[in-house]
Amino acid sequence: MKKWIRFLTIAGLVSMTVAAQAANKPAVIRVGAVGSSGKPFAGGINGIVQDQGLLQQEFKNDGIQIQLTLYKGAGPAVNEALAAGKLDIASIGDLPCVIGRAGGLKTRYILGRDNGVNSYIIAAPQANIHSLRDLKGKRISVSKGTKTHLTLNRLLAQVGLTERDVKLVNLSGADASAALATGSVDAIIGGADRPLVQQGLAVDVYDTRKDPIQNKGRGALLVTEEFAKKYPDIVKRVVKAHIRAAYWASQEKNKEALYAVETKTGSSRQSLVVDLAGQNLKEKYNPTLNASSVASFKDIVDFAFRSKLIRQKFDVDQWFDKSYSEVALKELGLENYWK
């Protein structure tokens, strides 16, 4: 009897393994994204995917679980999770994903995400900063290695300044706000949510809303090479779910609903309305990997190398993998939507 039980158990396990291999699907897809500083909710396209349960819907019939982890440590924390082998799919900002790839992370760039992420520079009223030029010699708080760090460099370059012309203070989130409120720094660069301005403790200096899209922050959807090799069809379906979210966000008629999703991150509706005012949603949420995004990332790699943020360059063309998005766009009938 015992022999039979042992035989049946082994046979069961073998058949399950064979079945799993035949189906070629993982039991779980581990997705990581940058968490907002407020509530446990992702921003932008990730927020829509999360809110509408698009990944869960896509894989419901396959019995594949979606394990979403939001990292408060922003891009650097997502890179660490990728290095530790804790993620299959990662959503991350432009500069951090370049830093990660240059540092040896074996990832592929499979989809664009949130192209027009605006940055806002605010200053203490007594700091006498009214324009980008006035930043010279001032103490500016920025979270180094994040996409706002890159944006700050681009903005400084617009007026002929570099990081060396200012005093960068490496702070983020609440610490940066506290430092500005107490006069420890003269200015900070951050997102659209600016409670200090609303409280009269800081004044707006500059924001990127009217800048060309190339100057704004952008995000990326990455897949680990290992996962992509094992489950190419699953990766295509992950991409498809994100394209659905991008398509939904690109439509003006969904703007109100979009605000509702974004406020789940803890951002104020008022800030979001101001941030999105006059923005071309189709351009902002264009996920396609086009010549513009390749050129933009080549610039980022050059900048990061020049600024000694990365030790070695890498080939952006080799890193980008359009194959998943091209098929997914075709299947959704959206191959011409963002062109």
């Binding site: 660490e80 540092g103 203070v169 490496n170 702070l171 610490d175 506290a178 420890s184």
Partner: protein
């Protein structure tokens, strides 16, 4: 027991003390190739050695060590001297002991890292909050060890001071402090050790120099070898500081014999 027998055992002890670190080093180097941990997360020792050599060559490491040591020295002096004075005051005055000791013990319950946001708000992001943060770390071991040392000065020392008619300054310098010196020195050792550990915490916030900053930079730029290099340097300098103080302590208190473990 013959001298050669003791010598043999001393060598054996030293060998045993080397075996574990050596095995750990081998395991560490093999962790990547054996796919136990990604080399991107745990930099192998040989790569680390090259990074350290580069950092020394470029002068970056030396500059950061000097900045951190300066912060440690100032923070330690401020924190340890404050603790020393408060320890003496509480040790000598039963009234002040009753008044201040419960307060000091209560404030000690606040986790040290919880002070940092408040320090930034109060004192900006310059050097001052970092020095105060390190000083907080150095303060507690010093105040408690000084207080305990003074409380533990034998009663007959006080009687002797009365016989010699020692008052105030002479009483303090000839009887109290010498009597409490072993405990005070333990406080100094702990204070300095904690100051060195706290410097890393101090440099996590709004900093652009120092070993702690170098580690944070390495983390944000996904250059984990910089983080590991910082760890190695902190450990090595902490070890050297402790070693120097141990030698001083042994020389100062050579008359004191203490039980060091083992069976005679």
């Amino acid at each position: 027991m013959s001298k050669s027998f003791i010598k043999h055992f001393q060598w054996k002890d030293k060998l045993l003390a080397l075996i574990v670190p050596l095995l750990l080093l081998i395991l560490w180097q093999s962790a990547g190739p054996l796919q136990l941990v990604s080399e991107l997360i745990l930099t192998p020792p040989l790569t680390l050695f090259h990074t350290l050599a580069d950092l020394v060559g470029s002068g970056e490491l030396t500059d950061n060590i000097i900045v951190s040591l300066q912060r440690v020295v100032i923070g330690f002096l401020v924190g340890a001297s404050s603790g020393f004075i408060l320890g003496i005051v509480m040790g000598l005055s039963p009234f002040l002991k009753r008044t201040l000791l419960p307060l000091v013990k209560s404030v000690q319950q606040v986790p040290e890292y919880a002070w940092m946001p408040l320090l930034i708000i109060l004192f900006s992001v310059g050097e001052l909050p970092k020095i105060i943060f390190i000083a907080i770390g150095a303060f507690y071991p010093m105040v408690f060890n000084t207080f305990q040392g003074i409380s533990g000065v034998p009663k007959n020392y006080h009687e002797l001071a009365n016989v010699y008619n020692y008052k105030n300054y002479r009483y303090l310098t000839k009887v109290i402090i010498p009597g409490a010196l072993p405990s005070i020195f333990t406080g100094i050792r702990l204070s300095l050790g904690l100051s060195w550990m706290f410097v890393v915490g101090a440099e996590l916030f709004g900093c652009d120099s120092g070993i702690g900053y170098m580690m944070i930079w390495g983390r944000q730029m996904f250059q984990i070898d910089l983080v590991m290099s910082g760890l190695v340097v902190i450990g090595a300098i902490g070890f050297v500081l402790n070693f120097i103080l141990e030698i001083i302590e042994k020389r100062l208190f050579s008359w004191r014999r203490s039980f060091e473990g083992g069976i005679a």
